[in-house]
Amino acid sequence: MSTILKLFAFPASVVLICYGILTILGGHITPGGGFQGGAIIASGIIFCLIVYGVDDSPIKISKTFIASLESIGALGYIFLGLAGLFTSGFFLYNLGVDLYHVIPPVISTAFNYPDALHAGILPYLNFVVGLEVLVGLSAVVITFLKSDQLIKDMESK
């Protein structure tokens, strides 16, 4: 990889990560949301991985990080749904916007996302899905880049 690429890749990665975070945050107003923003952040991480190589890249993702973020993303979605199941009778009920008026207003204001709109738990759902997607896509690319070493480990066992 040439010198210009090595000078340019790390700052461009950070700008891509910031833009991906903006796409996740505006999921209920602008086009985008959890899946799309997670893919943009993953593309920033993968850019650094390809230009510098897996061992030398400034943005390092370890196995514990992948496992914990994936678990937090998937379990967070389910716990938000279970919170709706235990307070009202419906799984994944939108607790901030109380469409059927079945829960007391204390819970409804506690789960509402504090911004100019009345969106309920939608931005939190976008956030946990974004966490899960960014880690999933980066894990697949890291596995394919390290495949020679992993196959050698498998055959020596």
Partner: protein
């Protein structure tokens, strides 16, 4: 069967199939009833301005849970293919 006869029969089968497909969409407009669309166009602005996110995460939030499950399964299977011998699970 020679090449010419085979082409002729294939062309005839394509014509019949195309006619069947086009007949289903001929005069389709009186058959559509937008039932749930009236309801969600009235309820939607109460929740958020983005109607796509309203349907994907609020009306069909359970399907999005299944979509996230697909992503988790794909990552687990990819890591399992390359990971034999890394963790000692017992046995021989």
């Amino acid at each position: 069967m020679s090449n010419g006869t085979r082409n002729l029969v294939a062309g005839l089968a394509l014509l019949i199939f195309a006619a069947t497909l086009f007949q289903t969409i001929y005069q389709f407009k009186p058959m559509i009833y937008p039932g749930i669309s009236y309801l969600y166009n009235w309820v939607g602005p109460l929740i958020a301005p983005n109607m796509v996110t309203n349907v994907v995460f609020d009306w069909r939030g359970y399907d999005t849970l299944g979509e996230a499950l697909i992503l988790v399964t794909a990552v687990i299977v990819t890591l399992l293919v390359f990971g034999r011998g890394k963790i000692d699970l017992g046995g021989e």
